[in-house]
Amino acid sequence: MSLFQICQVIQESEIGTAIRESTWVFPIIETIHVLGAALSVGLILCLDLRLTGLGMGRIPAAQLMHRLKPWYLTGFAVMMLSGALLFWSEAAKLYDSFTFRMKVLFLVLAGLNALIFEIVYTRRIAGFETEGTPAGATVVGWCSLAFWAAVIGFGRWTAYGLS
């Protein structure tokens, strides 16, 4: 079975059809999706501003990372769960969408970027105050800003492509 056929099966499933055909369920899930993304990306942005030196200079990077983590992970979970439900309802349509593919690509890049930060810099983040932010961590911050902006841009554009 090809990926496209799998997408068709998902879209035509009982739950996918129910979400797609309901008057209110799809808009409600989509609104939750947008607000979850805004919470998650908006808080990640605060850490990125610190890493890049653009802002948040009074607050240690370690504080931003540890204290905001539960909140941006919650926003991320809300975004991914609601996004999965939206995908469920129009998987075959999204398979053909260039902007959706770009969005997923940038989401994966943002994830890998965060993974690199987690593996390389998390244990050293307390030292950023005394030793300065390492150049690599600054690059991670810039990449995060760019990747998440692309996720939001292509995400919004995906909805236009479908309508």
Binding site: P27, E30, T31, V34, L35, A37, A38, L39, V41, G42, L43, I44, L45, C46, L49, G55, M56, G57, R58, I59, Q63, L64, R67, L68, W71, A149, I152, G153, R156, W157, Y160
Partner: protein, 158 residues
């Protein structure tokens, strides 16, 4: 001039017509609107979590606010400017849309909370709120801004 006449005037402006006639302008402006909203909601959340005594609690509220507020204002400016463009391109649709009025009302209250209450609390020269009252006000500010986002998204639906 009544409200309908004012909205009609907006709809007929050069800018409104240009955005309506363009294939990509509306979508492009809405992406800016959404990015601005993300910056706004993220930084409002950081400051008000702190005011509620959670989140960045090792830092003083005034430090968190001083760092976050320029970005809150920047996000607000981007959201309001792009939102004005979206509005003039479909002012008559907004005239008939209940969520539009909810959104503008919530926006007005959110701005009052942000400028009159949050800013003073963050500067430390607040009327002395008890911690309980401060928590409630901070939670309300976060909820209000997310309410603006929710009502705003709903304009597209009805």
């Amino acid at each position: 001039m009544d409200l309908l006449a004012a909205f009609t005037w907006c709809e007929n402006t050069w800018l409104g017509q240009m955005i309506r006639d363009s294939t990509w302008a509306f979508a492009a402006i809405e992406v800016v609107h959404l990015l601005g909203l993300t910056v706004l909601l993220g930084t409002v959340t950081v400051v008000n979590l702190r005011l509620a005594g959670i989140g960045l609690r090792e830092q003083s509220a005034s430090d968190v606010a001083a760092d976050a507020m320029p970005w809150t204002y920047g996000g607000m400016a981007a959201t309001i400017l792009s939102g004005s463009g979206l509005f003039v391109s479909e002012a008559l649709k907004c005239y008939d849309s209940p969520p539009f009025y909810w959104k503008m009302g919530l926006l007005a209250v959110s701005l009052v909370f942000t400028f009159a209450i949050q800013r003073r609390m963050a500067n430390g020269n607040a009327p002395d709120f008890s911690p309980g009252v401060g928590k409630v006000l901070a939670s309300m500010t976060i909820a209000l801004w997310f309410g603006v986002g929710l009502a705003g998204r709903a304009i597209a639906f009805y």
